[in-house]
Symmetry: C2
Subunit: 195 residues, 2 copies
Amino acid sequence: MKLLEDRIREDGLVLPGNVLKVNQFLNHQIDPELMYALAEEFVKLYKDEKITKILTIEASGIAPAIMTGLLLRVPVLFARKQKSSTMNEGLYTAEVYSYTKKVKNTVSVDEKFLKKEDRVLIIDDFLANGQAVQGLIEICHEAHADIVGVGIAIEKSFQEGAELIRNQGVRLESLARISSFADNKVHFVEDADNE
Amino acid sequence: MKLLEDRIREDGLVLPGNVLKVNQFLNHQIDPELMYALAEEFVKLYKDEKITKILTIEASGIAPAIMTGLLLRVPVLFARKQKSSTMNEGLYTAEVYSYTKKVKNTVSVDEKFLKKEDRVLIIDDFLANGQAVQGLIEICHEAHADIVGVGIAIEKSFQEGAELIRNQGVRLESLARISSFADNKVHFVEDADNE
């Protein structure tokens, strides 16, 4: 998606350790109109899928997810992160390891809000190692809900997350796919294809 | 706001200890169209204020804030919560005590995204003791930004938050104001006025 790639080139910061900082428009300060545009793209990609629910994870998945829910007129459910996994009654839970923060979190969703009749679109802002999305997939399995697919704003295609998800037969659509940060610049998968 | 009050009556759960659970439409599962309607109301209330930025706090403030930002075409900034206050360089921070979770968090915002030229509308889902909003007000003061006002979805008017904010001369607009949970039912301030 050109709009998002341009924005990443313009306002993204490449930091040591393959870190891309996009807190100017995505995960600290948020550009609502960009979120709306991302949502329009997700809706185009998944338009025939009779989605009944959007599932995301706090905090920075909420903005693109809520816009997608607005356009599709379906509820948006966000998984909560907790340090420990006490008080799990009535919850679907999954363990998620964050490579960035080097902590293990339990993510959870109230059983009331995810049913086997649901057709779920999973939305998140970033896909790198894929641990968060994997946790959301497991939660859908626990609920016996159908996973229509996953919609990601920014995918780091050189990390294992994308493969992890596709290998399970889950459809993955990422609006910007980063192939490398060579020379401290952001290179997209499309760039590489053209070279 | 009748739409919100009706929804609280219909889908809110009153629990012991004056707890109102609205995780069916506001802070776990979210109704995007309701969030859009809340945003329209905030925009109506603050339409002449030349707002340049929405400030909220993760996680459940993000949904109503992003819709308000969409309508006003201004960026939305969400403060992050951390347990400790290490690595505060380049951040505006405030200490926030959560009575619900009985923990003290440091909330923070990157200095880059809040300037003295900004005219800020603070948005949050809930106002009870007012600690979170108070933290956001302090952050605005640190940045020497103007606070246009505060927009809240649900205010528990019988707790001290509303007074705490108004006593500082900060405008507060809450879309549903709860006067009590007598007999395990939700009573709104307007109800009391009519009785």
